[in-house]
């Protein structure tokens, strides 16, 4: 079986991983600036605001309700607390994504060098790890993101809510994790069947 497509996918994902790591480093620098330097005109902290005035937005015969928006808040001067909370907002999700991508790249690398390409116990193991990374990482990052948003909003906005709903990414992450676990189980059971067939004389 040709493994060229695996090699190509590995190269594409490796480039994506490298760019993601660079982006994370840039975000960390931005975070450091917010915490210890202060940037009146630079990077801001995105926060959700609710009940935004919407007078005049609706066309005739329609009513606009429950308007929410995302605003970018820039603390004036250095703010270590804001920097730390902002880090909690984005870093867990980013780390989850990077770990997931790294696991996929590693799985592809191993699959390319193996006899049976993707259909192996190694791939099943990698998929299982990927599944748990996505599930645990998505849940943890959603909880931390929500908690950090509550604290940041109370610090930086005049009005805040006791709970900020996590984004839809958490559902996507958990579903993707469950899919990875499912595929891992399919591969594992398939290998057991294959082993039995091969050991039949």
């Amino acid at each position: 079986m040709s493994t060229r497509w695996i090699l190509r996918l590995e190269v594409v994902l490796s480039v994506a991983l490298t760019l993601s790591v660079l982006g994370t480093v840039a975000a960390l620098i931005g975070n450091f600036v917010i915490a210890f330097v202060g940037n009146a005109h630079g990077i801001g902290i995105p926060l959700q605001v609710f009940d935004v005035p919407s007078t005049g937005m609706a066309a005739g015969g329609a009513v606009v309700e429950d308007v929410s928006a995302e605003v970018t808040v820039r603390p004036q001067g250095a703010s270590p607390a804001a920097g730390l909370l902002y880090l909690l907002m984005w870093a867990p999700g980013t780390v989850t994504g990077l770990l997931a991508l790294f696991t996929v790249v590693r799985a592809l690398g191993r699959a390319r060098s193996g006899d049976r390409a993707l259909f192996s116990t190694v791939t099943a193991g990698h998929l299982r790890r990927l599944g748990w990374i996505l599930i645990a990482g998505s849940i943890v990052s959603a909880v931390l993101d929500s908690a950090a948003q509550v604290m940041l909003a109370s610090m930086l906005l005049t009005e805040s809510r006791p709970f900020y709903p996590p984004s839809g990414e958490v559902v996507g992450g958990v579903v993707a994790g469950l899919v990875a676990l499912g595929v891992s189980e399919i591969v594992r059971r398939g290998l057991v069947l294959l082993e039995e067939v091969e050991a039949t004389i």
Binding site: E195, E196, A199, T200, I201
Partner: protein, 69 residues
């Protein structure tokens, strides 16, 4: 506790008939490697067709070839 196993009495039957594994391999058209796997109890399953060919070559019944321990 050791799990009960099905043992293939290929060694005994070959000895009784003065036949070698290679000779049996030629008669039943199964590789020596696979016959060794069968003989050493490493096979997970045996096809009826394989069993029939072995019985024909060794002049025995399936019950003579397999024992439950």
């Amino acid at each position: 506790m050791a799990e009960p196993v099905i043992r293939v009495r290929l060694d005994e039957l070959l000895k009784e008939r003065g036949m070698t594994l290679t000779e049996l391999s030629h008669r039943v058209e199964i590789t020596v490697v696979n016959l060794s796997i069968l003989k050493n109890g490493h096979a997970k399953a045996v096809r009826f067709s394989t069993l029939a060919r072995l019985c024909e070559a060794l002049g025995c019944q399936p019950g003579d070839l397999l024992t439950y321990e």
